[in-house]
């Protein structure tokens, strides 16, 4: 017997699953109780904007972002670089016009992505990446007070993932792909506790909040942190993010691991499978 609790589409929360097993030999009923973290699987749609060179919509952990990539296109004379392409990232918020918060995100994305894209292949050109946030997690209320993420970072993993999927859809040459996740350290029963993909409320309560991104070669490429934490805590965060973003399994035996109830989604495998599906349907004639 298995009981599941329905959660809102974007909520991450703890649910209790009771498993009742009947042991026939001893004629005893065991009731096991687990606490499991439930994260909705990431979802993506590729190349759905036909005017753009590449596009993707990605939703995970309450955020939905539409990305469009154009490039390599002509750069303005005053902007162009003689030896490499300019990577221009534009982030548009779900509501209102962008401000300093978006500029901060853009600068983080720009410096990350230009290390992955082979910018030297297209000197004096422009690669334009537009990211429109369409859905943010529903606001949570505590004692009638609205809790909103007052930091910029929680949306960063979704933006990075969307940008990478759009770039793959645009077939722009890259050195590697990226996976990114967010983590928070929350004090629980006097002990620090790491939560991946925290909700707005958890971010609010957390001691520190971190966003890490890894390349497909399992190298750390982006690490942004907010709040107070010790070096030891950061090491734990790094370990947790590494397990989330980088699979040690080789390509061949991905299916076997899938069944073992790995917590949450394996982002690297997700990116691979979604692009593989797209390529297979594009090359159906082969």
């Amino acid at each position: 017997m298995r009981g599941t609790v329905a959660l809102g589409p974007y909520l991450t929360g703890a649910i209790i699953i009771s498993k009742t097993t009947l042991d026939s030999k001893l004629a005893r009923v065991y009731v096991e109780t687990f606490i499991m973290t439930v994260t909705t699987e990431p979802e993506a749609l590729l190349s759905h904007l036909y005017k753009a060179d590449g596009s993707a919509t990605y939703s995970h952990a309450g955020y939905t972002v539409i990305g469009a990539v154009n490039g390599p296109i002509e750069a303005q004379k005053r902007d162009e670089l003689p030896e490499e392409a300019i990577v221009d990232v534009i982030v548009r918020p779900a509501a209102g016009v962008g401000g300093t918060r978006e500029r901060h995100l853009e600068s983080l994305l720009q410096s990350t992505l230009r290390q992955v894209i082979l910018v030297n292949s297209f000197p004096r050109t422009l690669i334009q990446i537009i990211l429109q946030i369409t859905v943010t997690p529903e606001n949570e209320y505590i004692n009638g007070k609205l809790v909103q993420a007052n930091v910029n970072l929680p949306v960063l993993p979704a933006l990075l993932q969307t940008a990478i999927l759009s770039l793959l859809s645009a077939s722009l040459p890259m050195a590697a792909t990226l996976t990114s996740t967010s983590l928070a350290i929350i004090q629980e029963d006097g002990r620090p506790h790491i939560v991946t993909n925290p909700t707005a409320r958890q971010v609010e309560q957390s001691k520190s909040f971190h966003v890490l991104a890894f390349t497909s070669q399992n190298e750390l490429i982006l690490a942004e942190s907010e709040g107070a934490f010790t070096l030891k805590e950061w090491d734990d965060i790094y370990g947790a993010a590494y397990r989330k973003c980088c699979t040690t399994a080789s390509i061949g035996d991905t299916d076997t691991l899938m069944d073992e109830g790995t917590t949450g989604a394996d982002l690297k495998r997700f990116t691979r499978s979604i692009i593989e599906q797209k390529t297979a349907s594009d090359l159906h004639w082969k």
């Binding site: 390599p72 090359l283 004639w285």
Partner: protein
């Protein structure tokens, strides 16, 4: 051509299985699009796609569809004239990219006095003869060795359709029906329609015919084949339907 067993999917930065790299005793290994050689001996894919190899030519490349066309020497493209300079026509191959140049004397039998007059918007079927990341691409409409046009030159009349890069590659294959699995043009021809087409590697299809109806039907048939990933059977069905609608 490509062996069926090597349908290996790669992402940028993946490892290319060493067993798949063709090894020819004499010929040098040729790398096609989507692969990068990192000295001394590493091969790294730069785009997502399927690895394809040709053991006869000792070549390996990544097959993919989509993105923006990047000019490569020898490709046939359909470009539109932007403006004319003293010696060159400035033409666009893809939108929002710097103009390519087409020398006014790079046409069959062209001399200073008999060069073609092309205005803004005129379409030209041309071959890329210089493509280099640091320079604007250069085109020609004449074979430099024989001096013949070989079908290249201004495209008069007709209509231009946008198709995906993968589709244009399939249409340009020497055996487009067997290898590319596009039978739609052959079917339309055998259904009694008279038309001419030109396929540009930059994702353009030009169709011309005496009757406007035929132009529209051919363009629609190819675009539908492309967008809906139709197989040969479905293409035949589509053509039958379109021809029936026309009459």
């Amino acid at each position: 051509m490509a062996v069926q067993a090597d349908r290996v999917f790669v992402l940028p930065g993946d490892e290319v299985p060493a067993a798949l790299i063709p090894s020819h005793p004499k010929k040098a290994l040729k790398l096609g699009p989507g692969l990068r050689h990192v000295p001394p001996s590493e091969l790294i894919p730069t785009v997502a796609g399927q690895l394809a190899t040709d053991h006869k030519k000792n070549s390996i490349w990544v097959e993919y569809n989509g993105g923006r066309y990047i000019p490569a020497v020898g490709d046939l493209v359909i470009c539109s004239v932007q403006r004319s300079g003293p010696d060159y026509y400035y033409v666009t191959i893809t939108d929002y990219t710097p103009n390519a140049i087409l020398p006014q004397l790079a046409f069959e039998m062209a001399t200073k006095k008999t060069r073609p007059q092309l205005n803004h918007g005129a379409l030209v079927y041309a071959r890329v003869c210089l493509a280099n990341r640091h320079m604007d691409p250069e085109l020609e409409c004449v074979s430099p060795t024989t001096g013949k046009a070989d079908g290249l030159g201004p495209l008069v009349g007709g209509m231009l359709y946008d198709i995906s890069l993968g589709m244009s590659r399939r249409l340009l294959m020497r055996k487009s029906v067997e290898e590319g699995k596009v039978a739609v043009l052959d079917e339309l021809g055998s259904a009694g329609l008279a038309f001419e087409t030109a396929v540009g590697r930059n994702g353009k299809l030009w169709v011309n015919s005496e009757s406007v109806k035929t132009v529209l039907i051919v363009g629609r048939a190819v675009k539908e084949t492309d967008e809906n990933h139709l197989n040969v059977e479905q293409q035949k069905k589509l053509v039958r339907k379109l021809v029936k609608e026309m009459n």
